[in-house]
Symmetry: C3
Subunit: 276 residues, 3 copies
């Protein structure tokens, strides 16, 4: 499946997006779960973006218009946070800004699933989750009542992702041993990354925020920007893994590596392949 | 007091518990304070468990039944969080799952003390705190109005812990230069650990969560599981301290070491002694 | 402008304050944003203080009197947090304890600006922000309706800081490539620090908390304590930078270095100069 020409093109695309991000330093509003705030903000800063954790509904009308993208993550959702999430998504839509949804643990409860379906109605530019989250969301979007279990590999979820992308109009990304990105027609596999990233809390949340920052630099190519963000984050993880002794040092080296990534490394090591 | 045979047995017990944890990867629901979320989740992941920070009362009835244990920590308690804590404890009891209470800074206010006493009524499997927290809670449980000061050594608190264990039916653990665990009759001292752990925020919260994960693997021996969790965490701290230059690098090396702990190290270095 | 004699005096002042902090271990209550809690608590611990993240209004009347200083940071402000902030500031005032305000992102919304102005009315001992925050706050305090943009260098903000200090009675500190501190008459520049600190989330919040801890050790010289805290934190950053490979390792080495700072290093390397 891997195609050398493809990979070189994707390396170049990824580097262009990362360079733009560093030059533009887009302001990314994050309405995210309580566990992820530190690593999400530090990931955005290391990549060159400006994070803003602003979640009061009173501030959305004034603040959100100044941002370049919005991230919404339901990881520790309570009912009092939901109106601000919807309001920020609505402002983003109204002003033509990208916004990215992370349906973290969407299968945890009916409350959370309903909230995610309401957010999907607000047409996120990108949705990123793991395989079981995307399957649960896709099935619920289609009105299926069949339960989703949590053991799905990301490759099993590709069909669900394509369905969700078609019904929602969003780019859909699935994290796993290989990450997949689809717009409903095209599917790519992003191969960078290391298994130990799963032993660090909120790395999925962090990469969702990175996707928002990448898309902010080229909203008209959200599919390519999403794939690039996943690859760049995974590549930083690979470089970090070469220095790490365990998950906590991997976390440190990952962020350091993301900050220091150079053109040659990105061109040589980004590995994205067509998949359909 | 130290007994070589004892120590060898405890090393074996600790290794068995850690191995089971790695194999079973229990899902641990954490309703915890805002400061501790990152280190708690990362400690659980490094040990082999699956953390879930879910604190909305709307999700308790559906989500808590899927967990293997619940941790409740009142470190940044506000009234809106308390109903979910009680609901999760009630579900755990109803379904025969273990749950662990961390009465963080219970002496800070009457509000917090009352909340902890209400939680104690819901029969936690284990209660873990520092000496002054356990003394304050034990005295309040017994209806004493005598104030507790915050300078108690953990050894001074052993009698208070025994009283609390008897009145509540919980295993009670006291963190300090030596950790103590009692079921009201037996008392053991867990000697692993280093003083600099106190210079890292929320290490106490993290070890409470680790206790929940250990107990989840063998609920019928909660006393042994609690002692094992304290020792394994302390041992990871000792190994981390050998590489650390200060509290922040200790935090990193502690988590890396917890992830990498092997049988030989646990068997040789866990130090738990009988104390009564 | 730099004056060698000055610098030596300031080195001695900074060391005296840090030594006192380590000896007294003041209890610092932090009502702070959700992103900053981990690094703020760990910074305070590394410096020798005792952090307490207590934000329930129910606990203020009982708990705040036991603290040596209060920090209030509006970085993730929602309306439900504001009453506790005001209550804690009021208790601090009533009991003659210092309290420090961090008007994080005060320009984000009218809601946040209004909240900060209400807090300023409660007479913080010190206010610390970046240049644009201090300008926005100073102009709003003076009733100006002219907008503040976010690109001001800290040096541009000195006049705004002097105005704010005069009108509020607070010491005002501005973080930037050089930090400035003023009481409305005197102005000093604190030169320690490295640019990469801006690539780590919540370092500004952390230094605000450190100011509170320093001021807690000598409330009658809040101006000197504020300058000392900024220098000591910046110096720890400089030492950390010598070991760092990027922002995540800088964060670790910064906190380790703060914990390990010795007299000789402080005396030789603290660089504070008069500026008016």
């Amino acid at each position: 499946m891997a195609d050398q020409e493809d990979t070189n093109t994707w390396g170049s695309t990824s580097w262009t997006r990362l360079s733009s991000l560093r030059q533009q330093s887009p302001l990314i509003q994050c309405i995210t779960n309580l566990v992820s705030m530190d690593i999400m903000a530090n990931t955005l800063l290391a990549a060159g973006a400006s994070p803003a954790m602003v979640h009061s509904i009173l501030e959305i009308p004034e603040f959100t218009p100044h941002t370049q993208a919005v991230v919404i993550n339901v990881g520790t959702l309570t009912p009092d946070w939901l109106p601000a999430m919807k309001a920020a998504a609505a402002v983003a839509n109204q002003l033509g800004k990208p916004w990215v949804l992370d349906p973290a643990a969407v299968g945890a409860s009916g409350f959370r699933l309903k909230a995610c379906l309401e957010l999907i109605e607000l047409k996120p530019t990108v949705v990123r989750g793991n395989g079981s989250e995307i399957i649960a969301l896709s099935m619920a979007s289609l009105g299926s009542t069949k339960g989703a279990d949590s053991l799905h590999e990301s490759s099993d979820a590709v069909e669900a992702a394509k369905s969700l992308a078609k019904s929602s109009g969003s780019i859909v990304a699935i994290s796993g041993s290989v990450d997949f990105v689809t717009d409903g027609q095209r599917v790519i596999g992003a191969h960078n990354g290391v298994p130990m990233l799963q032993k660090i809390t909120a790395t999925g949340c962090a990469v969702t925020a990175l996707i928002a920052a990448f898309v902010a630099t080229d909203q008209t190519h959200a599919f390519e920007a999403t794939a690039s963000a996943l690859s760049v984050f995974g590549l930083a993880g690979e470089i970090g893994m070469g220095l790490a002794k365990g998950p906590a040092s991997l976390r440190m080296h990952l962020i350091d590596s993301l900050h220091g990534l150079d053109q040659e490394t990105v061109l040589q090591r980004v590995k994205i392949t067509s998949f359909s």
